[in-house]
Amino acid sequence: MEKENKPQKKPNSFEIFLEEIQHSSWIVTFLAIMTGIILGGLLAAITSLEMYAAFKVSFWDGIKTGLQVAWSTYSALFTGSVGDFGKIKIALAGGDALEIRRAFFPFFESLVQSTPYIFGGLAVAVGFRAGLFNIGVEGQIFIGALTGTWAGYAITGLPAIIHVPLALLCGFLGGALWGFIPGLLKAKTGASEVINTIMMNYIAFRFSEYMLRGPMKDPTEYTPKTPVIADTAKLYHFFQDPIRFHLGFFIALAVAAFIYWLLFKTTWGFELRTVGANSNAARYAGMSNIMVTILAMALSGGLAGLAGANEVLGVNFRLVPAFSSGYGFDSIALALLGKNHPVGVVLSALLFGFLRSGARQMQLKAGIPIDIISILQALILAFIAAPAIIRTIYRLKESKIKEEEFTLSGWGG
């Protein structure tokens, strides 16, 4: 066991939290999700009036009805997010193109939902890797949507091959600016990026409202909306209506691959991760904490901006007030779920996308409130943040940290 001559610096609770998140094993993550789902089902059951009615008949009726409610909740969630296999079969047999598209709609809609989550999750993950807590993703999404939309309708006469990347770039730059400002403040003055990104959110919300009611308002519309973007700025849709699956999903995957490469295969990524893991050692090793902090915040903001631009260019085609209902905040949760690793982020973005998309169908079809899904997400996160609970429930062994203190490797202990 190693002895230091002076007491070690105690990490603060946020650092401990991050440490736990990044070092908890995937098995804990998986079990946390499963446990969350089980508890979510329980919750759906005990909030349903039918179960109580059934309990009045007999105890077993009550249990049976509870199970039925939980079952119908999740089967509605499944058919809502992936699709109804029965319908798919019938549609395929029938051969009607529209019916087939309708049958496959839930699956592709979930992918559409996942796309902004991928961008947003990457944004948060890049920040975390550099030791920065970017809570401003929501605001950066709004700004990215604004600049992306502007490039979409104000610039005309370009071919799609140029217009689409240009509009995405504008979205990226808008978000990047919104991340750059708190990054600069953090690097130069030490101002907490947590506080400043929250403040930047408010500025972004009010600023985009102003833009929608003023300079960017479509004069032909009564309500505050931007004009519709040019056809050349629209992201390619692979299928006809009602499927909205568009090129943005693949762009998101490509960006995730790029971020993976950047973080783990380049010297700049090495610097970013070093600054995030131990800023003292980064300084000792001659890295510029200031540059890394500023650039990482700008990149993080830019990725969030892409989430906003992607939604406009791929789904909505114009910007309306409050278009992003909490993508940015969900992104923080899913980045943690994905352990701030691009692959993990993509997987958890898919999970969140499918849950969100399925939840809407679930509410429509099974009458289960959509909030159950919010609670489910919160439960999963809570279990991941407190792995001790999961380890206790499933009798998993304590994480490696404790055991290492007792290695008896002879030389040097």
Binding site: K6, F270, G410
Partner: protein, 521 residues
């Protein structure tokens, strides 16, 4: 009479590791029993079993000949066993009395704390055992040595008869160590018994009545100080002969490598920490910087390595001014730095060994082509260095946090020594390491010196400074109070200088004549 404490066949397994293997140990009333072993030998595990923090898998504990069930610390306290942890368990903003009574508060009627009564008890204990602690002082204001005495009072307050002291000297200055030994001696004279855990050989011979050596979870042997020598104990601890006295040739000095003129540096509290310091270090020599911790050494090193901007003065490396240079510019001039706090500055604990071995060269070829990191080259480099520097790690992709302190330090040494360097600034290079690792690092430092590297060795360990340095500068309150020839240095002279006192001519003359005698014989 039965011994006050007896451990019989204590065995403790951790997954994959036998931490304690049928350990027997007896503690007689009124003795100081030293438990000696390298880091990871199982000393701390054994004591944690005794103190009830772990439960043994096999074996039994007897207190005064009676079998004792110790399942948690409260059982240990009830059995009269107390522990002074290496990291003190004190609340700085509480007074001594408040800290001592915590968990065992005296109360007046109505549940109010009776501080006066507790303070009296603390005063009584302090006087009885000559601990010299003011019950009403705030713990945060006390020096480390006094804080340790507060921990001792806590145990005596709870009527402990057996005191376990876990590496008690690690945090103390040489003077404080002397004082602690006096207190320990006095405590056993008053009928207390002490288990003294350490890996420092000199201390064991100085203050214990009996010595038990543990290696790899087993008791290697028990001996008396009069039958033992540091060499013998070191061999028992490590399992092979260890060179405690490093052999070195006379320094072959070359050109001036590091030139420091009138340097002034502030500490984070904006007080002057380095106050007009000037010195030079030549190629092929070791300049030792001695001094009690906190006399400006930390700030001096940080200024030399570019981590702290000096407010005045000039630093040049190889004729180039580096006063305001960045750490990277200084590194690129051929300067290496073994930082004082390896875990805070020197390593990224959550990164693999391979990445830590290129922490300051990752951007240069062959480890990078432009922006692209060359992962296979990084791995190749780490495989070489792990072998060359004998870093004990399961693999090069293991995170550094999983390595022992000695091996963590070897990662830093390997990294810094693997590039061509002209200047090495080593700050507390062997802090917290065991005999084997210390021997290794010392050998490497002297090797570098003989290759013509200029070395600045900052250390609070006097033995280390005396052994390795060609010249020794002693820092006291931010100034270099004197620089003496390494061959003339002894603990007496350095001790006086460290306390800010210039030794008189006689002391120097004695050191010189002693030296000549040695040369003659």
């Amino acid at each position: 009479m039965a011994p006050i404490l007896e451990l019989r066949g204590i065995t403790k397994r951790f997954p994959g590791v036998l931490a304690n293997d049928h350990i027997n140990l007896t503690l007689e009333k009124g003795e100081i029993h030293a438990l000696l072993g390298e880091n990871g030998a199982g000393k701390t595990t054994l004591m944690n079993i005794l103190y009830g923090l772990y439960n043994q898998d096999e074996g039994e504990i007897l207190v005064n000949g009676q079998k004792a069930e110790i399942n948690e610390p409260t059982d240990a306290i009830r059995a009269g066993i107390g522990m002074v942890h290496q990291h003190f368990m004190l609340i700085p903003v509480f007074t001594v009395t408040e800290n001592v009574m915590l968990g065992e508060e005296f109360t007046k009627s109505g549940g109010f704390l009776d501080r006066a009564k507790a303070a009296n008890r603390v005063r009584e204990i302090s006087e009885k055992y000559k601990l010299n602690v003011d019950p009403n002082a705030y713990v945060g204001d006390l020096p480390v040595g006094t804080q340790q005495r507060v921990e001792i009072i806590k145990l005596l307050f709870r009527d402990a008869d057996v005191l376990i002291m876990d590496e008690p000297t690690a945090v103390l200055t040489p003077q404080e160590v002397e004082e602690l030994f006096k207190i320990m001696r006095f405590l056993v004279d008053q009928g207390k018994s002490i288990i003294f855990i350490t890996h420092k050989l000199g201390e064991v011979l100085e203050c214990s009545d009996r010595i038990t050596v543990i290696r790899g979870g087993k008791v290697i042997g028990t001996t008396l100080p009069k039958d033992a020598s540091t060499k013998k104990l070191a061999a028992m601890m490590v399992g092979r002969d260890v060179e405690l006295q490093i052999k070195k040739k006379k320094a072959q000095t070359g050109d001036v490598v590091l030139d420091v003129q009138d340097l002034e540096v502030l500490n984070p509290q904006n007080q002057i920490a380095v106050d007009g310091v000037s010195f030079q270090v030549k190629a092929g020599e070791v300049l030792g910087v001695a001094g009690v911790q906190g006399n400006g050494q930390t700030e001096l090193v940080r200024a030399l390595t570019g981590l702290l901007k000096p407010v005045d003065g000039k630093i040049s490396i190889l004729g180039q001014e580096t006063t305001n240079a960045t750490p990277r510019q200084i590194t690129e001039l051929g300067s290496a730095h073994i930082p004082e706090d390896r875990q805070k500055d020197g390593l990224v604990l959550s990164f693999p060994v391979a990445d830590n071995l290129v922490l300051n060269t990752y951007y240069q070829p062959p480890f990078a082509q432009g922006l692209i990191a060359q992962h296979d080259k990084v791995i190749e480099n780490s495989l070489n260095l792990v072998e060359k520097f004998d870093i004990r790690t399961p693999s090069v992709t293991t995170t550094v946090s999983a390595l022992s302190g000695g091996n963590q330090q070897k990662v830093i040494v390997a990294r810094e020594f693997s590039r061509p360097i002209k200047l090495l600034i080593a700050s507390q290079p062997t802090r917290g390491l065991d005999v084997g690792s210390i021997e290794y690092i010392h050998k490497r430092l002297i090797e570098k010196r003989d290759e013509g590297t200029a070395i600045v060795l900052v250390s609070t360990e006097l033995d280390e400074v005396i052994q390795l340095s060609d010249r020794i500068a002693v820092m006291y309150r931010g100034k270099i109070i004197d620089t003496i020839d390494g061959s003339l240095a002894n603990k007496e002279i350095l001790g006086l200088l460290m306390a800010g006192i210039h030794p008189d001519e006689d002391t120097y003359a004695r050191a010189k004549s002693k030296k000549e005698q040695i040369v003659l014989t």
